[in-house]
């Protein structure tokens, strides 16, 4: 199985054990995706981790945009902004970087 910074990841690059997550893994995942992490990325990643800690689920994109708007301002609470940070989607790529579970594709 593939590894990132010593932590096992599955075929789609999600952490096998969510407890392995740390910032170095996150930075390496971003590098592999050719994304340079900025303060703005970290704002969303921290938000996702806090949300998961509090509610035990990854937020739906619609819920995420609403919550980001409330926390970081209306100009950032839209999917255009989130996709500019995470080109493969805040749900999939953002959650992967943040060490959240892989979405089950339930819609």
């Amino acid at each position: 199985m593939a590894q990132i910074c010593g932590a096992e990841v599955d075929e789609e690059g999600f952490l096998v054990d969510l407890k392995d997550w740390n910032k170095d893994i996150c930075i390496q995942m971003a590098k592999d995706d050719e994304v340079e992490l900025t303060e703005e990325h970290w704002g969303v990643i921290d938000f996702l981790r806090d949300y998961f800690e509090e509610y035990q689920i990854a937020p739906a994109v619609r819920v995420l945009t609403k919550a980001i708007a409330k926390k970081m301002g209306k100009d950032k609470g839209n999917s255009k902004y989130l996709y500019s940070l995470f080109p493969y989607g805040p749900g999939k790529q953002g959650c992967r970087f943040a060490g959240l579970p892989k979405p089950t594709g339930c819609i």
């Binding site: 509610y55 035990q56 937020p59 739906a60 609403k66 339930c106 819609i107």
Partner: protein, 134 residues
Amino acid sequence: MATKKFMYLNRRSSFGTVYAIESLEVVLIAAAFEQDVSLAFMDDGVYQIVEGQNTDGIGMKNFSKTFHALGDYDINKLYVSKESLEERGLSESDLMPLVYEDEDDDWAEKSSVKVVTNEELKAIMSEQDVCLSF
């Protein structure tokens, strides 16, 4: 798409069987369909939203925390059977404080939980188009 009234009928407690968590998974998905959603907690289902659940000792996920996210998903009609609570020696104060922000009232924080009698629940149920039981 037409709007229908969906009721999720929850009558089992959280961890003994898979029904409670898999019911919650449906509810979270359902939110995206913009239907009129309400949740009913009857019988042992009232234990799903009791405050102070801790799963550290059983190696299972504590999904009771997820109920706090329902407000963000615009699911804010949680009906709890008064009779079921009383039979179990519980009252509203034993339940988690679940809230939502009311868009039509300057985002005021309001309780999503409403304790209802069998008579009230009867009336609510009679209005439903679809009832999913878990």
